[in-house]
């Protein structure tokens, strides 16, 4: 059993929080994992991607070879597209439909989404809308995590427990909003 995931987004969009939840859930489930992340200069509003590998045995490389990723999980549609060459021919893309436009030449969103949908399996959720519905627009990353949950090889209970651990210190309303964001994302994905 193994799962290779490319996490994508823009610096500041909370992809490292998604990684944190997955890492801790993997530890709880007794899996091995390696997660290569981006720090420093690239985080200042630049494209950010993290390679996240899960397995029940040895994982050698911290980086995923091209053509090997089972899943691209992106907080932003253009960034999902940027790493398509990492995806297996039968891989899945889970992405938000909400573009993050901090560049002047952002391509046409409809075209981007159309290209995303060419992946063998794609799940596109409106993370911004769902996060607002959950109670905080900041929880878009957790909406996406919820949308990916049905595909992940991790126990859902472990994911929820780690979300709990991550947000408990920030007060009950924030915790509840994030758990709700997770559920809304999950439901949206299952409906597709």
């Amino acid at each position: 059993m193994k799962q290779d995931i490319i996490l994508a987004g823009v610096g500041g969009q909370g992809i490292l929080s998604i990684a944190y939840v997955i890492d801790n859930a993997a530890l709880a489930d007794g899996l091995t994992f390696k997660q290569a992340e981006v720090h420093g200069m690239a985080q200042r509003g630049g494209a950010v991607q993290s390679h996240l590998r899960l397995a029940d045995g040895t994982i050698w490389s911290d980086l995923i070879p091209k053509g090997q990723a089972d899943l691209i999980l992106s907080v932003e549609p253009l960034e999902a597209l940027r790493y398509m060459d990492y995806l297996r021919p039968d891989g899945t893309v889970v992405t938000s439909s909400t573009p993050f436009k901090n560049i002047p030449d952002y391509p046409d969103v409809a075209q981007v989404l159309e290209a995303v949908r060419k992946a063998p399996r794609s799940v596109v959720v409106d993370a911004e809308k769902l996060a607002k519905e959950a109670g905080t627009v900041k929880a878009q990353n957790i909406v996406l995590l919820g949308a990916a949950a049905p595909v992940l090889i991790l126990k859902e209970a472990s994911l929820r427990a780690t979300i709990d651990q991550l947000f408990r210190g920030r007060g009950l309303p924030i915790l509840e909003a994030n758990l709700k964001a997770f559920d809304l994302g999950r439901k949206a994905a299952l409906g597709q």
Binding site: M41, R44, P65
Partner: protein, 530 residues
């Protein structure tokens, strides 16, 4: 024993703590900063050891050396270019030796994710002729940090560990072991620590005498691994550090992988290298960084009858970070089947200053003040404000190394360029800007220094700074800058006109002036509020 999720950087830090660390020093720099970030957190909880952000890497190294002199186990960490700053005490510490265990950690950045160059710290291990480690994964990073201190005390020498960005910033679970107690105080004795030529000559020849023993120690290390494929004598692989992982990944499914030697210790484990080379006709050397091992294996004229491949031979790209895909290609394996890419043009998303960053307002004012001055040169430095080189600002003409903005402006001004402007952050100024400003003040050099005081070391995540606020202003005055030419501005859009005027006035002044732009980094402000 417990399993903990750690960054590669954190694994080194925790290994050091469990080895009985008493004091750690560092100056922030990506990808090494998380070592000290983690130690600062641990030390705030336990108060068991000192964890100090130093004013620069040279100072950090000397502080650690002092702790070692006192008999305690000490660590110093920095990014690869930081080791250049610390090179003076580093090289000399190979001669003084270490008393309490001394571990230096240098995090290299192949691929230049956030650095000015790709240099390979393993050359410094060789340069100083001390033992070195290069972990391939998190567990090794933890285990090696523990063992490095034992080895340092065994040889009475500092030990250098080399990391690369990929490992520093990768997260995985690590099995930890029980902590060892700290050393008792026991100060360094004899003349070892007095590097007068008479003493240093003796110490240097002792260092040379120990080389064979170091090689033996490296050959016996459990971190190296030689596996010979008896059925195939045509081809073998030498892989060091993280490159080993990419190699094992590429051949993971093979029933009989080629012969290989994993190298994680230096000096090179010679007998292991000889055994591998003797066994095969052709050797591929995989290493992240420079062709350090490859060149040693090949020697000047090659290994007769053998072919050595790697970065120097052109079989692996000469620059950039290794990846599993590059390693597959070098092994002669084809790419894995992947999806055809969409062909849609993907706009680049370069890093940029945060919206509302104070530096942006300074650059806007500076650009305006310099309008129409064809000879103007702006010397930049290392920090968030280096991003001022990119559009929309295009505001700086150079960025070389910490502090170089001031010294280069001085040189350019001596050469006749006018206006010569330097732009440097508060933390960088404290790191390496004070001494060149002292020189410029003594000469009243015709230049303008703009110090961006945002009260933090922002680029690396907001570490403390030594050169901010009133103490900074007093320092500048103390260096001999004329008081009437020390000006402060507040970089805000509403102050634009005023700021342009002040900058213009000081540029027109034919002598030294220092303008301090004071406004806190908005990321730090936000952190304080939440």
């Amino acid at each position: 024993m417990s399993r903990q999720i750690l960054l590669g950087d954190e694994a080194v830090a925790l290994g050091a703590v469990h080895a009985g660390l008493s004091a750690a020093y560092s100056y922030p720099g990506t990808p090494a900063s998380e070592i000290m970030e983690y130690l600062v957190r641990l030390s705030a909880e336990s108060r068991a050891f000192a964890a100090v952000w130093s004013v620069n890497e040279k100072v950090a190294y000397e502080e650690a050396l002092g702790a070692s002199f006192a008999g305690k186990r000490a660590m110093v960490s920095f990014k690869h270019v930081g080791l250049n700053v610390a090179a003076d005490p580093f090289m000399n510490s190979a001669i003084t030796g270490a008393n309490g265990g001394l571990l230096a950690v240098s995090a290299d950045d192949p691929g230049m994710h956030s650095s000015q160059n790709e240099q390979d710290s393993r050359f410094y291990v060789q340069f100083a002729q001390i033992p070195g480690f290069e972990p391939s994964d998190h567990q090794e990073a933890y285990d090696m940090a523990r063992e490095a201190f034992d080895l340092s005390e065994k040889f009475g020498l500092p030990v250098l560990m080399r990391l690369v960005t990929r490992l520093s910033h990768s997260r995985s679970a690590v099995e930890t072991r029980e902590a060892r107690p700290q050393n008792e105080l026991k100060k360094g004795t004899g003349k070892d620590w007095i590097l007068l030529p008479g003493n240093a000559r003796g110490r240097f020849s002792q260092l040379l005498d120990r080389q064979a023993e170091m090689v033996r120690c490296s050959e016996e290390s459990r971190f190296n691994r030689l596996e010979l494929n008896a059925g195939d004598r045509s081809f073998g692989v030498i892989a060091s550090g993280i490159a080993y992982n990419y190699f094992r990944e590429a051949v993971a499914g093979d029933a009989a992988p080629p012969s290989f030697l994993k190298i994680s210790t230096y000096p090179l484990p010679e007998s292991l290298v000889r055994r591998l080379v003797a066994h095969v006709d052709k050797v591929l050397v995989l290493e992240d960084g420079y062709p350090f091992i490859e060149r040693q294996v090949r020697g000047l004229f090659g290994v007769p009858g053998k072919t050595v491949l790697g970065r120097a031979s052109g079989d692996v790209p000469a620059s950039g970070e290794l990846t599993p895909d590059i390693v597959r290609r070098a092994l002669g394996l084809g790419p894995l089947p992947a999806l055809p890419v969409s062909g849609l043009p993907l706009a680049n998303r370069p890093p940029q200053l945060c919206a509302g960053c104070p530096h942006a307002d300074t650059f806007k004012a500076l650009n305006k003040a310099l309008e129409g001055r064809a000879g103007a040169s702006v010397f930049g430095d290392i920090g968030c404000y280096t991003l001022g080189a990119l559009p929309p600002f295009n505001a700086i003409n150079s960025c070389v190394c910490m502090g170089a903005s001031i010294s280069m402006a001085r040189g350019a001004s001596d050469a006749g360029l006018h206006p010569a402007v330097s732009v440097i952050g508060d933390s960088t100024f404290a790191h390496s800007g004070i001494t060149p400003l002292l020189g410029a003040a003594r000469a009243d050099a015709d230049m303008t220094v703009i110090i961006l005081d945002n009260a933090t070391t922002a680029m690396t995540g907001g570490q403390p700074t030594y050169g901010s606020g009133q103490p900074l202003l007093r320092l500048i005055e103390g260096l001999g800058v004329p008081k009437e030419h020390i000006r402060t501005i507040e970089p805000l859009p509403k102050n634009h006109e005023t700021n342009v005027r002040i900058i213009r006035d000081e540029i027109e002044h034919r002598g030294l002036s220092v303008i301090v732009a004071v406004r806190e980094c908005i990321q730090e402000q936000r952190k304080k509020r939440s």
